[in-house]
Amino acid sequence: MKLLTNKLFGGKQGLINLAILAGIIFIVLPLGLDLFRLGLIGKYLTYAFVAVSLVMLWGYGGILSLGQGIFFGLGGYCMAMFLKLEASDPISTKIQTTPGIPDFMDWNQITSLPLMWQPFQSLTLTILAVVLVPTVFAYIIGFAMFKRRVGGVYFAIITQAIALILTILIVGQQGYTGGVNGITDLKTMLGWDIRSDSAKYILYYVNGLLLIGTILVGRYIISSKFGMLLLAMRDKEERVRFSGYDVSNFKIFIFCFAALISAIGGAMFTLQVGFMSPSFIGIVPSIEMVIFAAVGGRMSLIGAIYGALLVNLGRTMFSETYPELWLFLMGGLFIAVVMFFPNGLAGLYVKYAKKGKFNALMQKIFPSKASFEQGAEEVSTKTTGAKA
């Protein structure tokens, strides 16, 4: 039991920092911010899912996917399709030639609900789809690539290409997908108005809980033998292979898991923001999500969340005052993070903070991994101080 808690909470320290994160998400921010700002935070926290997924995939697995937007998008679209169907009941769409189907279908002379949309009339199937569609898609990609040992740069570029293909397809098949406008004007979920203030709060908290849950699962995986093997693979793939492990299976698994997390983020995004569009699948968002992870510290699950929050807050605040400056800043951030603190906030901390006894010990036992975890946790405390 003790062992399990250690795995989930990363020891006493980890538990504390998780508590702090929870405190910020569940208490500080809701009390400190008006609903509008809180809505923004909620949105950023959906990106955080992707950032966390990238920590596991890229930071630990050494697999850089420039197409995580694919899965964020797929998850989001699945949810959006359900909400859209509910929003386009025969009454509210009576002006259409064919009432009862989404408006964009009507504009594209589609006279009956396409097969692909049928399952999304049921919430249960929709939730299943949110979980399965991206994971299966990831499995197919992963299987094809990792079994053939496509890796590193090639993998990055191919995922990018896939993101591009998917975008063009969605934009092109607007009769079935809503095209470049995406799926918009989502109102209710099983009759529950997701735009109402109460709903916004509830969704925000659900989102937060899911995120914490993700962190716990993530921590479990990382602290298991699997996590150790991920690190091992990242540094000496050959050696792992010649220790009798089928490396590709491990990569496929972590890729699928990352896809799953991202998809959950996407679904929560749709629920909170009220629409989904191809602009989340494309290359640019996918790469930006990598920077969230990089800023937080590519080796730190919690760091990734702070990374996502800080970068997006920065974007919002700057682009309100001087948009020009923001792009320079964003660009500069990419360069700076990579060049000067490759381990992000977490790494910075480890570098500069004076290490306590406990910390030093952790250093000894879990060299790279834990110390960064450690660092991130500490950093999180500091950023808290800053925010609260």
């Binding site: 298991s224 033998k225 000496k236 050959e238 010649f242 490396v247 299976n249 879990f366 060299p367």
Partner: protein, 247 residues
């Protein structure tokens, strides 16, 4: 013909890179509990042979039988699981894991995705880690980050990681490269100890070291076997002296 009495039976093995035959119709047998040393000038194809056996390189033709199972068809991890361990020329260990973790990771349980997710570090695991650590003279350094080990110790650690899997055939590529004289002796003893219940194939340049360990020596030259036999026999062989020991 059947070779049940051999642990490793390589027959008529050939691999060519863009026409260049790195290994050419090689035939080689290794006995149970034998410690075989393969020597030969650079580019003789020594390392390539190991690569072929452990599946890193795919052969163009010929067969490799390990206890009568054909290896050429299997993938790397299957070969390892069949009981073949391979150490690389430059020590290949997980620099930023601790010595303990390096050994633990190599423990032959929880090798599947799910297995590794729910792998429990039982007393049994701990024990075997400690035993091996003692065997390879790293017991005091278990918690040390592997990167901090000396070159020689890294070599040992990698051997230790192989021993964790308790392979029946152990292949070592230049195990004493970069070691001090003392370390070389220790390694020699180590090898002599561990070949008690398994076959070992070693690639080595250092003749003194080879003398210490070799049961039988195979001399490769341009992908072909030049000579085979005991150390003295080989050393007296004209052709060998010609191409190798001569200069």
């Amino acid at each position: 013909m059947s070779n049940t009495d051999f642990v490793l039976a390589i027959e008529d093995l050939t691999v060519s890179f863009d026409g260049f035959k790195a290994v050419d119709a090689l035939t080689l047998y290794v006995d149970k509990n034998e410690l075989r040393v393969v020597i030969g000038p650079n580019g003789a194809g020594k390392t390539t042979v190991l690569d072929l056996i452990c599946g890193k390189t795919k052969s163009t033709s010929g067969s490799i039988k390990f206890k009568n199972t054909e290896l050429t068809k299997l993938s790397e991890h299957e070969i390892v699981r069949a009981g073949v361990g391979r150490k690389f020329q430059t020590p290949s260990i997980y620099e930023n894991l601790s010595v303990y973790q390096n050994l633990e990771v190599s423990y032959p349980k929880g090798r599947g995705v799910w297995g590794s997710l729910f792998f429990k570090s039982t007393q049994e695991v701990k024990d075997s880690v400690h035993n091996i650590a003692k065997e390879i003279m790293l017991e005091e350094h278990l918690q040390m980050e592997a990167a901090l080990l000396s070159h020689g110790q890294k070599q040992w650690l990698e051997i230790g990681m192989l021993l964790m899997q308790d392979p029946e055939l152990l292949m070592l590529d230049e195990p004493v490269a970069g070691m001090s004289a003392k370390e070389r002796d220790q390694t020699a003893d180590l090898l002599n100890r561990i070949c008690k219940n398994r076959s070992v194939v070693v690639i080595e340049h250092d003749m003194e070291f080879v003398k210490k360990i070799a049961h039988k020596v195979t001399v490769l030259h341009q992908g072909k076997i030049l000579a085979e036999g005991t150390m003295d026999k080989v050393q007296k062989d004209e052709k060998v002296i010609e191409v190798y020991l001569g200069h």
